[in-house]
């Protein structure tokens, strides 16, 4: 089911942990769906110099979190905001269709962490973002429709 890269990132996840006094923290997903991703970012001069994550979820969830933290390290926050779920999935040599929502979660976790950073710096007007529904519903629906 999973590519070698996914299994590698699952068995040997990069950047697991927390950052104390992180510049941006984003948590997305919810326990009902069975996927929660929490991303911590250390940002200096608008460049992400360190990233860590904690994830409650399946093999794909852990792997996409791990890959997402690798992808954002060293990028400016504008570059990081451009990272799409497809990019995360591609970096892992692809995900089964029914697991694509895990990559959505990774993309949204990055955005949530950066939003948090901006909010802390007073750069954002709104109070809070969405809870980052990972859109598993879409994947499952699509999967079911494909079988018809």
């Amino acid at each position: 089911m999973y590519s070698e890269k996914v299994m590698d990132h699952f068995m040997n996840p990069r950047n697991v942990g927390e950052i104390e006094n992180a510049d941006g923290v984003g948590q997305v997903g919810n326990p009902k769906c069975g996927d929660i991703m929490k991303m911590y970012l250390k940002i200096e001069n608008d460049v992400i110099i360190d990233a860590k994550f904690k994830t409650f979820g399946c093999g794909a969830a852990v792997a996409t979190s791990s890959m997402a933290t690798e992808l954002v390290k060293g990028k400016t926050i504008d570059e990081a905001l451009k990272i799409t779920n497809q990019a995360v999935a591609d970096a892992l040599d692809g995900l089964p269709p029914i697991k694509m929502h895990c990559s959505n979660l990774a993309e949204e976790a990055i955005k949530a962490a950066i939003d948090d950073y901006k909010r802390k710096k007073g750069l954002l007007d709104d109070e809070g973002g969405c809870d980052g529904c990972c859109r598993r519903c879409d994947d499952v629906q699509q999967h079911l429709e494909e079988d018809e």
Binding site: P31, G34, F56, A60, C137
Partner: protein
């Protein structure tokens, strides 16, 4: 242990026993006759089928002519439920079942609902048990069928089948039980238990996949779904899967002969696993009734972690098991059984089912107890839920 493979998913399927395979093989080669054919090898196939039928009848305490071979347990469930529902539609259209049935029963009931039937899905207690009183209270003048599983495939809980059968008989309502997990594990007698229909499946008791059986008590009003030839006394057309049926017969014979020793062995493995895991790993819950459960069934929920991750890591260590998480079912929700016993979603997602079988040993349990705690700990360290609940001072 590089080449370790420890199979702990016997509720999903079992290997075919060597004696069973041996009994089946001739029916693929020399004895390949169609059982409906008049000549020698045809008659031989017919004879083999009838011998298997006798064995199934013996195992259930039924008459051979009450046993019908099907392609699976699912087919038997579908036939039993739809067959009785449609045949007795003039009398009534209400069916009683439980919230924890296998999908083969649940989805069949849901299909009947879409066709105008009324279905009551009885809730279960926190151990997954339904009470005879609940069943009695749910019965209405238009109830024509009660369908309640003998033992649950996920959490192992064994239902009070004989008591329910007694009530069904008293009220003159047909009683079907999905005994797919129970056959080969528990003593069954359809007369003593007042069962009118019973489903079983060979691949759960060391027989081949692709064959099952439905017991239908003589006199039960039911309809057929497979029309065509006259096989199975005109009630289930299809050229018989002779080899499969022979395998089913042989497997059920072996299973029922050895049921007590088998039970004893499995219970030892099961109970040691339950006791030790509860001792060694914190924040864990056993799902299903502690004692009224299938002899080889263990089902835990580990808080703060998710089931598929657990299975992948166990797989890396050579252990095969299953889970009730949504990720493993490919759907939106975790197991309906775990939700029905009242587990919150996130706890249901962290479930692990281990089901022991003939080939397991105490050494397997030793190994499991060695590898499981570090895996759980590792996944918890990665989980945002673990740290936040520890911070909240949760015990």
């Amino acid at each position: 242990m590089k080449d370790t493979f420890i199979y702990l998913d016997h509720a999903a399927t079992t290997p075919v026993k060597p004696e069973v395979l041996e009994a089946m093989l001739p029916y693929f080669t020399d004895k390949f006759g169609n059982a409906s054919s008049i000549y020698s090898i045809g008659r031989e196939s017919k004879k083999a089928i009838e011998e298997a039928r006798d064995k199934v009848a013996m195992a259930l305490g039924a008459q051979p002519k009450e046993i019908f071979f099907t392609g699976s347990g699912t087919e038997a469930d579908n036939w039993a439920i739809k067959g009785v529902a449609y045949a007795n539609r003039q009398k009534g259209n209400h069916i009683i079942t439980t919230a924890i049935e296998h999908h083969a029963v649940l989805h069949t009931c849901q299909y009947l609902e879409s066709d105008g039937f009324e279905v009551t899905y009885l809730p279960v207690d926190e151990n997954g048990m339904v009470s005879p009183e609940q069943v009695r209270n749910a019965i209405k003048p238009n109830t024509t069928l009660i369908t309640i599983m003998f033992a649950n495939n996920e959490i192992g809980t064994i239902q009070p089948i004989a008591e329910i059968g007694k009530i069904a008989k008293e009220k003159g309502i047909y009683f079907h039980t999905d005994a797919v997990q129970a056959v080969g594990n528990l003593h069954i007698n359809v007369d003593e238990m007042n069962i009118d229909l019973l489903s079983l499946s060979a691949h759960k008791f060391y027989g081949p996949k692709g064959v099952g059986a439905l017991y239908i008590r003589k006199g039960t009003k039911t309809i057929s779904f497979l029309h065509g030839g006259a096989q199975e006394r005109g009630r289930r057309a299809s050229t018989e899967n002779v080899a499969g049926i022979v395998g089913l017969g042989k497997a059920i014979e072996i299973a029922t002969q050895n049921i007590d020793q088998y039970n004893k062995k499995l219970i030892e493995l099961r109970d040691r696993t339950i006791d030790e895991v509860l001792k060694r790993i914190p924040f864990v819950r056993l799902n299903g009734h502690r004692h009224k459960r299938l002899p080889g069934n263990v089902n835990f929920s580990f808080e703060f972690i998710e089931g598929e991750s657990l299975l992948l890591m166990l797989d890396m260590k050579g252990i095969a098991a299953s889970s009730g998480s949504a990720c493993t079912s490919g759907s939106l929700d975790p197991s309906h059984v775990l939700l029905a016993i009242g587990l919150p979603h996130e706890i249901a997602h962290g479930s692990l089912r281990l089901t022991f079988g003939e080939d397991n040993t105490q050494e397997h349990v030793d190994y499991l107890l060695e590898v499981l705690p570090p895996i759980v700990e590792r996944l918890r360290e990665m989980s945002p839920l673990y740290e936040s609940s520890l911070l909240a001072g949760k015990k």
